[in-house]
Every structure is written in structure tokens, then in C-alpha cells.
Assembly symmetry: C2
């Protein structure tokens, strides 16, 4: 297990005003752990989201995508152990029923309830056990923490992912908290597996939506574990206004500060997911600089971050930069081989496309737990960073045995 030491875990218990949590055991995949959770806001909140761009979408994603048009929400029910994907009409009925049971228990409209699921694809939801568990989930409201929710939604994750930040708007202190789960089937152009961002800030729908989109583009869309895009990726952001600040509008100075904070928050979460990539022994940041455009920099960085050969070399402490050159070459960007510089942390291994003779020192750098690979293309001024991890025998083991 690789855990980011730099994250301030002390702050994680500061959750925003008016949000209550509950977790329970529905033994969805197997018994022995809390695997279902409820997020509830005392007040109806502004709610926006982003979803997987996979054409095969899980039932909860399909349901949420319809409800989110209203821009409003008050509760989210989440489960691990079953993705409720590729489950046909029954899957849609099940997702809907989950929200209706919660709505009835909370005495709110079911259109204000969202659902997210993660786990095995293609297995019907065990609705009998879920129906039995929902009363205790409702009854337990306020007895669990946001960290408990983060724990309940874990699948192959080895630690719960939670982060909080504060921002002062006028005289009000607003809190923004985020939890997420990752580990496998993580690839850009979706969001990430599951992420919930909760805040007591007062902000209108357009501003929250714009800020979320920007922060996801700069974080979860620049993260890859294995290049496999999930059917269930969901990011939901709720803001209930209970911090009583004057409402943040798109384009204002307050918006700019909120957006910056949200970017920091999602960036930290994306890093946590990379740290906890399945089987990872190393956190890897790929930074492509001096590119012709951000799009080209991102494309090149993703090609490197998705290369099995680059990632196994990093696992093996081998500064095999030839594999990075090869990945750059097939990434589809414009490039000149004889201009490329490559660094592992601060050790330069390639100067103008050829070896600079520091492979041994670079190999030593690779023994560290955090690796930054910097590539300078000398084609312009744009840059992009992508987070990933190494590819190890444990990744194979986890994924060969996932359903057993």
C-alpha cells in the first residue's frame, strides 16, 4: 500500500454544515463490511455532475443523468460491490426503486435523490437485501462520518479518500469536502469512478457547474491507472447554501476563488487515486512541457502514462527512456525527436533526443515512491501534467482474481 503522506488528514473531519451521513451493511457482494451509504443534506441543494462518456452506461448513471437536469438534489445513495451495469430494464427499475425507498424514508421527493453504484458488472442488484437494509440506513442518519462513507464505497481501494478545504466568502466560512474511490478501470474522459463533492457554500447552478467542469478537466481527466474507462463514473457536486454567504455567481471574484479551491481539492483527490492505483508501488506524474498546445501536451502525457512498457520499467527501477520516446512517437502529436529532453525527477536522461548518460543515477531516482517524469518538446509554451502509477504483478493478481 502506497499512501500519500503530504495530504493533511487532520482537516478531513471538517465537513460542511447541514450534511448528514449514514452507512450500513447490505452484504451486496459478500458480508462483513459496510457497503451502502447515504449522503443527506438538511436543505435542498444545488446539484451538478459529470458522468462517464462510455457508451455502455450503468443504470444509476442513466437515472442520474435525467434527474440532474433540474440542478437540484438532497440525497445520494451509494453502494459498492455491484455496479448495476449491463443489467437491462431490471437494473433501471432497481436503481429507481433504491431512490424511491430513500425518498420515502426521508420524506422528500424521489427526484431529489441520486444513486451511484460501483463493483462487478452484469450481476443483478440483490434488491431483497437492499430493501431490508434501507430502514437501518435511514435510521442511522447522523451516526456516520463522511470518512465512513468514503470507506463504504471502496472496492479495491486500500485507503479511504477524503479531503476538505475552507474558503471565506464575505464574512462566511464555507467548507468544501470531497470523497472519491478509484483503484482500477480508471482512464480519462470520464470523471473518475465515484466522487462526491459537498459544500455549504451558496452558489448558483451555472457557477457550480462551470467550476466542476474545469476542475474535473484539470484533475480526473488527467489521471489514468489502466486505460480502461468505466461504465459507472460519476462526479456529483452538492452545495446547500447553509454557510449563508451571499450567493456566488459565475464570473465574480468569489467565483474565481471558489474555482481555484475546487481545482486544488479535485487535484488532491486525483493524486490520491493514482497513489492507490491497483497494485501500485509508486506515484508517477508525467509532465509534458514546451508543447505547441495544452491538448498536445495532454495527449503526449497520456500516451506515456498509459504505456504498459513505461510503467513496468518504472516498477523495475529501470530508467528505460526509450519506451518514453516510443510512446511520444506514437501519441499522435507533432514532435521532433532531436529536440526532446527527458528527466526522471531532476536527473536528465535525454538531451536533444539522445542519451545523456545518466541512466544509472536515474535508476536510483526510480527507487523513490514519487516519480516525476518531465518531457520538454521545445515546440511551444504549453504544458500538461498527468497522474498515474507503476504497473506491477499485484495489478495482475488483483484483476485476475477480482470476481473470485
Amino acid at each position: 500500500m502506497l499512501k500519500p503522506e503530504h495530504i493533511d488528514y487532520k482537516s478531513k473531519k471538517d465537513t460542511p454544515e447541514g450534511f448528514l451521513f449514514s452507512t450500513a451493511e447490505a452484504a451486496i457482494k459478500k458480508p462483513g463490511r459496510k457497503d451502502i451509504a447515504l449522503i443527506y443534506s438538511r436543505k435542498e441543494a444545488v446539484l451538478v455532475g459529470m458522468f462517464t462518456t462510455n457508451k455502455v452506461k450503468a443504470a444509476p448513471v442513466k437515472l442520474d443523468m435525467k434527474r440532474i437536469i433540474s440542478g437540484k438534489g438532497q440525497a445520494i445513495i451509494v453502494n459498492s460491490g455491484n455496479a448495476n451495469a449491463c443489467t437491462g430494464k431490471k437494473g433501471l427499475d432497481d436503481a429507481k426503486e433504491m431512490t424511491e425507498l430513500i425518498a420515502r424514508g426521508l420524506n422528500i421527493k424521489s427526484s431529489l435523490v441520486y444513486v451511484a453504484s460501483t463493483g462487478v458488472i452484469g450481476v443483478p442488484m440483490p434488491m431483497g437485501r437492499i430493501r431490508q437494509t434501507i430502514p437501518s440506513l435511514i435510521g442511522g442518519i447522523g451516526k456516520a462520518s463522511l470518512e465512513d462513507v468514503a470507506r463504504a464505497i471502496m472496492t479495491t481501494d486500500t485507503f479511504p479518500k477524503i479531503i476538505s478545504k475552507k474558503i471565506k466568502i464575505g464574512k462566511s466560512i464555507c467548507t468544501i469536502s470531497g470523497i472519491c474511490k478509484g483503484a482500477g478501470m480508471i482512464c480519462p474522459d470520464m470523471a473518475t469512478m465515484l466522487c462526491f463533492i459537498l459544500s455549504d457554500i451558496s452558489i448558483n447552478k451555472i457557477a457550480l457547474s462551470k467550476a466542476l467542469k474545469e476542475s474535473v478537466e484539470l484533475s480526473f481527466n488527467r489521471l489514468t491507472i489502466d486505460g480502461d474507462m468505466s461504465t459507472n463514473d460519476t462526479v456529483l457536486a452538492m452545495a446547500n447554501g447553509m454557510a449563508k454567504n451571499s450567493q456566488v455567481l459565475y464570473g465574480s471574484n468569489e467565483y474565481a476563488r471558489f474555482s481555484k479551491t475546487l481545482i486544488q481539492l479535485t487535484d488532491e483527490m486525483a493524486r490520491m487515486i493514482a497513489y492507490d492505483g491497483e497494485g501500485a508501488t509508486k506515484f508517477v506524474e508525467v509532465s509534458v512541457r514546451e508543447a505547441a498546445s495544452v491538448a498536445e501536451a495532454k495527449k503526449a502525457a497520456l500516451a506515456i502514462a498509459n504505456s504498459n512498457l513505461v510503467k513496468t520499467a518504472i516498477f523495475g527501477n529501470d530508467a528505460n527512456w526509450g519506451r518514453i520516446m516510443a510512446a511520444l512517437g506514437y501519441s499522435g502529436i507533432k514532435m521532433r525527436e532531436d529536440k526532446v529532453d527527458i528527466f526522471f525527477n531532476n536527473v536528465q536522461v535525454v538531451r536533444n533526443g539522445i542519451a545523456s548518460g545518466n541512466d544509472k543515477e536515474a535508476g536510483e531516482e526510480l527507487r523513490k515512491k514519487e516519480i516525476k517524469i518531465t518531457i520538454k518538446l521545445k515546440n511551444g509554451k504549453a504544458l500538461a501534467n498527468v497522474y498515474t502509477c507503476d504497473l506491477t504483478g499485484d495489478y495482475i493478481k488483483i484483476n485476475a482474481e477480482y470476481r473470485t
Copy 2:
């Protein structure tokens, strides 16, 4: 080691008229094996080729791409242990010198000599040892077999890849032989790592070029081991006309028969490469059927064949078809989830997008050494097959330790 049992190895010694071979040890990466080889045709031959589409091209690829414009050739020098890629101007000079030394030894023009290299990227060629070895390579002409050449060009391959076929044109029996190497850094839209096709058929340049292009598209371009495209991929086809048939021209009946034979030959070689994928325990064929177009079928099949999650599940004997659905969904093709059928060999696991309840039987199928995954999209009549292998802990081990 997984070796295809169905290939007829008896035929492999029937090499075409007029080709002579030589191998030697230049200790390019380390001593202890033959790592340099020469293919020589007694008569100047028609020579055509295909090369990697990677923007980072190895020096020998750059050299060959210029020389091949002539459509003529008489000798190929090949080495393993060093790719001569990312080696700058010195690399180009070295590649050129290798061909010049051979040309001088054979007393032919250097423009008729081609060079191919495979191995580590970014390390200068050990030209001292290569210069010392070339006289014995020239002196040994005729003393080695084509299989010896196939053996000398192996890197992480576990068995030499060689195949021969015969075709009767008029009263002449023509032989076509192919050797190749694969194992890692194998991904479509290049050719494959290295492949040499030799024939004594009389055929003109256009016909040989068209037939090669078609056969590569249907074989090496439908093969993926790890999704990493190499800097060195080279397919060269030589036809020296020594079978004395009346020359085969593009569009004739003889051309159609030759083209069909060449497709069979390259198909067998592509299969051999998949069988011998790094760390492979299983050969996997992904067949996408009833697609709207061949391009869509190929795109979908490649997305599945490149999915780490699909390939680790196969290694683990787990018929986790949800990962196949997810890969279809992100492949970029048009599809309707509720129309998809999926089979592992003859066991149907998905009917109209949902589980058909045969995961256990399918898991048993996965214990076999040859797996065919069939996907029916019910969107049209086109189909495409792609070859790959499972992803195992040995792949990680091989690639984490490749340079050590």
C-alpha cells in the same frame, strides 16, 4: 512458453531458390548467442516493405525507407540486442556503415543492402564488435538456415517463427518463406517488430507491394500484445524470380492466388507472435461480427484486445464479460448495449446486453490454451478478427527486468 501446435513445422525448411543465409555472434547486448544475421539473394530481387508509423523511427528504418524507393534489393543485415533507435546522427552513420561493409563483402552496390535492428533503444551500436564480426558473417554465407536467422533475431521471443508455403504458377513451383520476431512492443498500425518474406517467385514491384500491404493489414495490423508501438517495425518482402515462372502482374488470376497465399502466411506469423506474447499463457482471438463496417469491427476488437482488465481476467480464468462490454462502450464505435451477444469459445455469456447465466461454463472454457471471444453487435454484416494474448505476472517481470 505457449507454442502453436497447429503450425506445420515440417515445411519450414523448404526455403526459396537462390537465398543464402549466415549468422554470427557479435555480442551486441551480451555474449553467448548468435545475434547478427545476413539474408542474401544470388540474384538482385524485387524488394518492397512496410515500416512503423511511429514518429520516432530507428536509424535502420530511416535508411531502408529511402533505399526502398528503388524497389530493388539483394541483401538484408539484421541484428538483435540493440534497436539503433534514438541514437542521433551517429546511429544513422552506423546503420549506413553496416550496409556498406556487407556490400563490400558481397561485392554488390550498398543501395541493394537493407538493415534491420531490434533490441534496446537509446544505446549506440557497438560498431567495433560489429566490424570485427562482419567478415565471418560474409564467410559463413550458405552455412546457416533460415531458421537460424529466425533464431538470431529473437529478443524476448521463446521460439523462432518461420513458415513456408508453395504455390504453382504455370509449370513452376514457387516457394514463399517468412520469418518474424515479436514478443513485446507489439501494436497495430505499424507492421510487427521484424518480418522478412522471401520468395523465388517472379512478380513485379506493384503486385508484390499491393499483396504485402493487403496481407499486413489483415495480419500484423490486427495483432496487439501490449498496445505499445515500436520504433523499429519493419516488414521486407523480396522476390528474386529464380522459380522462373512467367512474371505475376497485379490484377491477374495468379496475383489473386499469390495474394491469398501471402495472407495465409502472414496470418500464421501474426498468430505465432500472439502465441509468443511476452508472458502469455493463452492465445486469444477477438472476433467482432455483425458490425456496421470492417473499420468499426476492427476498432472494437482492438479496444477489447488492448484492455488490461480483459486480459488479466482471461489469465485468471474469469469470464468477466462486463470488462468486454466496458471496452466496447469506450471503443468509439456506434453500438446498442441491448443488442450485444458475447461468447467465450462456444459458450454464450451475454444475450442482448445482459448475462445469460453461463459464467461458470465460460470460466471452464478459459482454462484452455486457445480462447476465441466472439462479439455480435447486430449492427450490420462486417467482421474483423484481432489476435492477442493474456496479460500475466510474467509480462511484468520480463518488462521490469528487460535491461538488467
